[in-house]
Assembly symmetry: C2
């Protein structure tokens, strides 16, 4: 426990965030659905201390707290998602891990079927739960469309390989790479025919667009509060049917009041307070999803005016997360002294951030929640940067 450089300690105590400055546009797909509205910023300050939601906890369970109305809120959240029961975790992946561990113990099995566009954390959760992953393929470049009908074969393959039906089949509702939105209902049908629980990873959909688990035939829906629910987070959402809840919310042997796979309560002060504060905002904003998709399509059109730029993934866009291949920018990067960072830095001059620093071969962004004016600024910035480096803009 030596002494520390005082200057460094002062620096830790006074960090500022460039991307939070007035007028900055942040295009980062993991961030656009998490930006706090004004009412959540107030809740953040009011409930800033770590255990701030636990002042009047009578039962040792955050989901049973009535003051503030956490219990009621979770019921509303379940209703909003068309599911029976909701619990909170600290991350979407923790909700998934709890699901896999609970279903594995209840049903047996040692495989998980996933789409080939699943997030890395899906693979990690499977690995940690001791499950082999069987992939449902996609069509590859340029669409990367998941072959939903292949869920049937994948379930059969899992059974052949491991001698038991898979513990579950998971679909990434909108994937993090191309923003392809998948027809969950079709996969649900296949899973139910095979009596395999259907898990929907709605990290990029629930909270930004309408998602009704009952209508889609979902058994477990997991989502991410800081990604798509305008919560400060970290907070994961675990929404279950009653049937599956029995297994996933199994109690500890020694502490029967505690849910084993959740390791007891998540700790949620500001994270939960902001999730609750933003709920009315979320309930309203999902109704505007068609406009959001329109804006995404508009930006695709604008960026594809640049030489070589092409939107990857399914066309036309039906989600706001967009991946572009940008070979022109990549060519510029090869001869630029800042290499791949040039694009990030050029965009920053236009007060635009959120493109992965250093990458130019493909870029990813989200238009979610941007105003028309902001979108126009983004398009203009890309056009000007392209022109500056000699790329043609049609």
């Amino acid at each position: 426990m030596g002494e520390f450089d005082a200057g460094r300690l002062r620096r830790y105590a006074s960090l500022s965030r460039e991307a939070a400055r007035e007028g900055i546009i942040n295009l980062n797909p993991i961030q656009r659905g998490g930006i706090l509205p004004e009412e959540a910023r107030r809740a953040l300050v009011e409930f800033g201390d770590g255990y701030s939601m636990c002042d009047f906890c009578l039962k040792g369970r955050i989901d049973m707290i009535d003051r503030p109305p956490v219990r009621r809120f979770l019921e509303d959240l379940a209703a909003f998602l068309g599911m029976d029961v909701v619990r909170l975790t600290n991350r979407c992946r923790d909700a998934l891990l709890a699901t896999l561990m609970g279903l594995k113990r209840a049903r047996g099995g040692s495989a998980l079927v996933v789409d080939a566009n699943a997030h890395y954390s899906t693979y990690l959760a499977a690995e940690l739960a001791g499950l082999e992953v069987v992939e449902v393929p996609h069509t590859g470049h340029p669409e990367f469309r998941v072959l939903l009908e292949a869920y049937r074969e994948a379930i059969e393959a899992a059974e052949e390989r491991t001698g038991q039906p898979p513990v579950a089949a998971l679909l990434t509702h909108a994937d993090p790479y191309y923003g392809n939105l998948n027809d969950a209902r079709r996969v649900a049908e296949i899973c139910h025919e095979a009596s395999v629980p259907f898990v929907l990873n709605a990290a990029y959909t629930a909270g930004v667009m309408p998602v009704d688990g009952r209508e889609l035939g979902v058994d477990v829906l997991v989502s991410s509060g800081h990604k798509s629910w305008a919560s400060s987070g970290p907070v994961g959402i675990l929404a279950l049917t009653d049937e599956v809840a029995e297994h996933v919310l199994a109690r500890s042997e020694r502490f029967p009041n505690k849910e084993l796979y959740l390791l007891g309560c998540p700790v949620l002060g500001a994270a939960l307070a902001t999730l609750m504060a933003s709920f009315s905002h979320v309930v309203e904003r999902v109704k505007r999803w068609p406009e959001e998709v329109e804006k995404a399509r508009w930006l695709v059109e604008q960026l594809e005016r640049i030489e070589g730029v092409r939107q990857l993934g399914v066309r036309p866009k039906d989600h706001t997360l967009i991946c572009f291949e940008t070979p022109g920018f990549h060519e510029v990067a090869r001869r630029h002294k800042r290499r791949g960072f040039f694009l990030y830095e050029e965009l920053k001059k236009h007060s635009i951030v959120g493109i992965q620093p250093g990458l130019t071969k493909r870029i990813k962004l989200s238009t979610y929640g941007l105003t028309r004016e902001e979108l126009e600024r983004v398009a203009r910035a890309f056009h000007e940067i392209a022109a500056k480096y000699g790329l043609e803009v049609r």
Copy 2:
């Protein structure tokens, strides 16, 4: 996804917190070490959006981010704790679970030795990791002192029962029930003689008092940012020796950049920003621990002036978490129309919160960080309530 009661949605959007009001004294032991200093409140607002620390992430690993200086901060944090490596998780228990899973795979074994005052989450983590718990007993009422020498027998018993050495032995540095502070060094010696990794649960010690893992002989130290580091959290601290880190920070097979037992990055915007912002405050405050202990002893003396009140746990106090048995208040509760809630409500009239609502047989509180004036207000409030209900105050 039906319609929601507009009044309820408005209520979620405008929650206020009684315990946050100016002049309120909060005695809750889980909260006293988590109260944010001014610089952390600023960080909370600046980094309120969920992924706010990830704006300039180049390697897909939060512990490697240099802007803001997360990597450097984690090195400083490790140095402060006298450990080699620090990673963050979302809760202390998640740090413990990662430890148990990592060590179990690396060393084999199916038991965990723990002290009988361990937090419930220790038992849950063991259960989830598939480990049988072997307990080191305490002396029972009124001291509840853990019999440290019995770690040797417990390790032997674990080996006899399971045929293998235990995966690890854990000591709760200061326990959550009586606030007994244990001599970690003694347990470390026993563990090292038996070649069993020694895990210290420092949730109630590191961050409020000086804790040097190297000096104590600790292999793994886990702690809680929202409990004892003045962080908004949720954030757990996982501090390791290099030797143990190799196992606990094992990589995913499929994603070798990601640490399997952590399930990849924790998501830490405001949680990490406030942990960093509060670090200089924490580095300073641990030096004042002897004064904190003095204040705890003073309050014990004052409350024991009330008929029947007795401090449980080791005497004199060497920690600020205090448990009292309060048979006089319990007797009052039996005939009071508000039953056990009377004490909570009477204290609230004195602007004091944080005693578990409904409980009067035993109460738990912490004096950590209270000023002399606040302590006097607390003592006076208890005395006045006692007198009001006919209990003698000597």
